[in-house]
Amino acid sequence: MNSALFIIFAFLLLSIYLGVRAKRGKDMNLEQWTVGGRGFGAIFVFLLMAGEIYTTFTFLGGSGWAYGKGGPTFYILAYGCLAYIMSYWLLPAIWKYSKEKNLMSQSDFFVSKYNSPYLGVLVSIVGVIALIPYLVLQLKGLGIIVSEASYGSISPTVAIWIGVISVTVYVMISGIHGSAWTAVVKDVMILGIVLFLGIYLPIHYYGGFQPMFESIEEANPGFLVLQDSGMSISWFISTVMLTALGFYMWPHTFGSIYSAQNSNVFRKNAIVMPLYQLVLLFVFFVGFAAILQVPGLEGAEGDLALLKLSIQAFDPWVVGFIGAAGLLTAIVPGSMILMAASTLLAKNVYKVFAPNTSDEAISKLAKNLVPVVALVALVFTFNGGNTLVTLLLMGYSLVTQLFPSLVSSLFKNNYVTKQGAFAGILVGVLTVAYITISAQTVGTMFPSLPQAIKDLNVGIIALVLNIIVTVIVSAATRTALVTGKNSSEEIA
């Protein structure tokens, strides 16, 4: 057992210990398990929210994009920033309502606002379909990190099994309390490691940031900026907007909104989060540093840039800490996803069709669904192949389809009816599925349009269709409603 492996396992055990210990003294009903009894203070909520944002994608994908795509990577910094602005008003409103109505899941919010359990079923299904590939991505990342950082002595398959079993155990026992404690360890680790790598590597290999960027620019002019066509400025703006809208629409993010003790946490977070996000900058720097040092990683292999360069630059014990941080970046969001998906399936799908089930039975079912969801994710992880990337791209666009009817439901007079919300979400989701599976772009659908429009993120089309259908169906069902009311009043 080399020192890297030893450190990775030490951190894994620490996270399981903290995760399991978090249960102490709590009666784990569904409210405690999935939203922490709505008792989390500022720091836990901050870390949970940050924990879901700094995932293995950020760790491997952020550096991988910088390595393979260059300038377009910067969109990752921009969308979070704009999402935090919206969060200032959006999150307190969601929190307040959820507290009044004692909501547990994202679907509960739709069920309650639109008074329609079947809308909840639709929202749950969309959520679970979007969550599974997200979880699979975390698991794949976990496998890559641990097997690379152990210098190949643990295979990705074994690493993934160990990771999944650990998460499943502490999620079943401690729920979100476990995630919160693991998030503490994770954020301290990731902050230290990313800052260290992002500062040390450019200086060590190039003598500084500017010399590094200068040598990249010299080797590949235009790589560091947005392209003239393709990943252009209009691609950047549309992608940032879409991603920012989808940012808080993930079902597991809702769980952490509900877990807060008071709503002021979110307002303070909106000030601090943009700055905290700058950590990503250092992830990018690592990816850029790797371009000329470990050249030749093609396509998906670019995700290995950070690890390959670290292995080349450091002793095994340093690599061990990097591997441990990577492991935790998979485990925290992984645990939140498992919990959110299980809660949705138990409370918002199963209970709708078996309304007489008691709360205790639902709570028990949610916990027992954790290993089931984990197993489904494992099957996709080991057999997914390339369909996985397609599914993942779909995930973000899918949850974004929930945005129009969610935001509209926060207004005093909600124009959107339950039929409108249902039809809009359905049309949006089907459009996303069609576009993703047939690999269409705005350019292929409308080849005669100007380049700037052709470069728009194709998700815009689904969102626009969604809004149109929502408005039309709402208008139709509202008139029916109003006439219905009037005529009954006349009769009365």
Binding site: C81, F209, L224, A270
Partner: protein, 66 residues
Amino acid sequence: MKIQHLLAFIPFIGLFGGLSFANKVTPYVLGMPFILFWIVLWVVLTSGIMAMVYKLDPAAGKEETE
């Protein structure tokens, strides 16, 4: 529309509106290509703007638990 709501639009306009002029490598600022510096600048400004919004917002600062 209150002033704190208008403030919130500034980062959107600034970040996106300046892109066509900022989409270049030189001059390097703080060692970063100009486009990256531009985005980082707006991230930092956003934090400042949200702090101003917080100060102006009558709802902020109250530890609502109801």
